[in-house]
Amino acid sequence: MKPSPRIMMFTWEFPPRIIGGISPHVYNLSKELAENGAEVYVITCDFPGAPAHEKVDDVEVFRVDSYKNPAPDFASWVYLMNMNMQKEAASIIRDLGGVDILHAHDWLVAAATIGLKHVFRKPLIATIHSTEVGRRGGIYSDYERMIHETEAWLTYEAWRVICCSNYMLIHVREFFNLPADKMVMIPNGVNTGEYDMYLKENLREFRNKFASSEEKIVLFVGRLVYEKGAQVLIRAAPKILEKVNARIIIVGNGYMKEQLLALAESMGVAHKVTFTGFLDEESLKKLQVCADVAVVPSLYEPFGIVALEAMAAKSPVVVSDTGGLSEIVEHDVTGVKIRPNDPESLAWGVTRILLDNGYADWIRENAYRKVKEAYNWSRIAQQTKEIYIKVLEEYSRTFWA
């Protein structure tokens, strides 16, 4: 067994190219793996201004020329990009003298990695961050079915399938009919260090831009789409304001924005609700630190990274008891769980925290400790490395080795 396995990560986004959650995930995981003694190579799409080849925190990053011509549609672009990514990766692997493990993140790199697996005869590991079924709430067109079948193909070809919550693991196992022993749950992580500096800083002036000193800040962060549940928070606002002087701050954009503004108006709480739109990273982190309570009222949530961020920012959390959120939060210990899609329940959870400082502090400290212990990237990288070692050990007994 090699003490430092050579891992090649495949992802369609890597900083500075940031589209969704995969980019920071692969960045943090790769960095920590490299610090844990793995040799890590990242193959990703090119990005204006970013070098084609560079070393980032001991991780060797290759940005390949993705498909630049107009593509018929997004999925076709993905496949064409895979074609380009694969041929570049084939040269890189040959030049490196081989790698030990190929690690794919989502269907977006399925075709490239599956071919390489067979060509180089190396084990393929897949992390499934989300599924087409979950994103669309079902499969309704050939376009969606093709992506769904590509996801199935990737999980079939993978030696192990990693999911970031038990909720996702069960979902993926059932939709793709996978054997249980092929699947592993390794949570997503949050870097508490990114919040620690703001926790020490005096943020009074920053806070005053959003709320008066008499107002408690109730914070929602997320896309303004139905499944994220901002509407539930606005419906709960009158009940919250009956008991506490609060300012409800809604960060994010989405197709529901107009609807939510109108809802706040009709509930008679518009003067107490602030829509900030999209915030830059620093302001967002500071606001998360300033919040007296962070609400995650999602109706559907595969993982729920925003709850972890709030916990790292030492803001007490109120979350829907659903999906990945159910696993992250322990009720009355690291947060308050409420019934999904129930404004009454949400108002109860929020006021419970805002009216009892002792309780809020207890939740705050427990949650912070939990995040540091269970959701830190170093631990996640360690768990991932253990999977690599195990897979390599199994692999060494096959005729491919």
């Binding site: 498909y67 011509n69 107009p70 593509a71 018929p72 549609d73 999925a75 076709s76 496949y79 064409l80 895979n82 074609m83 694969q86 041929k87 084939a90 040269s91 692997i93 040959r94 075709a111 599956i114 071919g115 390489l116 067979h118 060509v119 180089f120 005869r121 050939d142 376009y143 079915r145 093709m146 079948e149 590509t150 193909w153």
Partner: protein, 208 residues
């Protein structure tokens, strides 16, 4: 010499003339003493293997059944072409002399295999997208052209069937004529011309 031919049609799956042409070529090459493999597609014969007239035929099906266009269909299928080719490569201890790719469909697999194993490939052109598309230049046509362009660039040699096509490929894809050979099985001495191209790539002169 051990040769692998890639073709997206091969009997019993017949789309156009290519199926007959490739099967006749493979059979004649096998009769000339070459060790011939054909890697091809079939709708339903998964992992089918057949040895007939000295030609080993490997058939794969598409691992993804639902598709939105020819491109997505082609690219997922290429991964299976790579899988079977790699299996042949490892079984034969890397003793593959060259890959002869007919038309553009399996160019992506040939490029990956070339880069991974340093096996040269020939791009055998029957027709090109510029002619087939009748002047249309929508994203689908552009994508197919870009794959043809990739094939023209990465191939060690291009085989066309006429001087006219040689000129077309040269003009449209900006490739030097030295790289393009004219050889057509259906013409006199066609087989010998193709064998000569194979041997030139192998660097063996004219006899082995």
């Amino acid at each position: 010499m051990r040769i692998i031919i890639f073709s997206w049609e091969y009997p019993p799956r017949i789309v156009g003339r290519l199926a007959y042409y490739v099967s006749e070529l493979a059979t004649k090459l096998a009769n000339s003493g070459l060790k011939m493999h054909v890697v091809t597609y079939h709708d339903s014969l998964i992992g089918d293997f057949e040895e007939a007239s000295g030609v080993k035929v490997h058939r794969v099906t598409n691992p993804v059944k639902t598709h939105i266009n020819l491109l997505t269909w082609t690219i997922t299928l290429n991964q299976e072409i790579e899988r079977i080719t790699a299996n042949i490569y490892y079984r034969e201890n890397g003793q593959i002399d060259l890959i002869d790719v007919h038309e553009w469909q399996f160019i992506p697999a040939a490029v990956t295999i070339k880069r991974a194993f340093e096996i040269p490939f020939i791009y055998s052109i029957e027709s090109i997208e510029d002619h087939r598309s009748g002047g249309a230049n929508n994203p689908m046509n552009i994508a197919i052209k870009s794959i043809e362009q990739l094939g023209v660039l990465e191939a060690d040699i291009i085989i066309v069937k006429s001087e006219w096509m040689k000129n077309e490929v040269k003009t449209i894809y900006g490739v030097s004529t030295g790289k393009i050979k004219v050889a057509n099985l259906e013409e006199r001495n066609g087989l010998k011309a193709i064998l000569d191209v194979y041997r030139s790539l192998k660097g063996e002169g004219t006899q082995k």
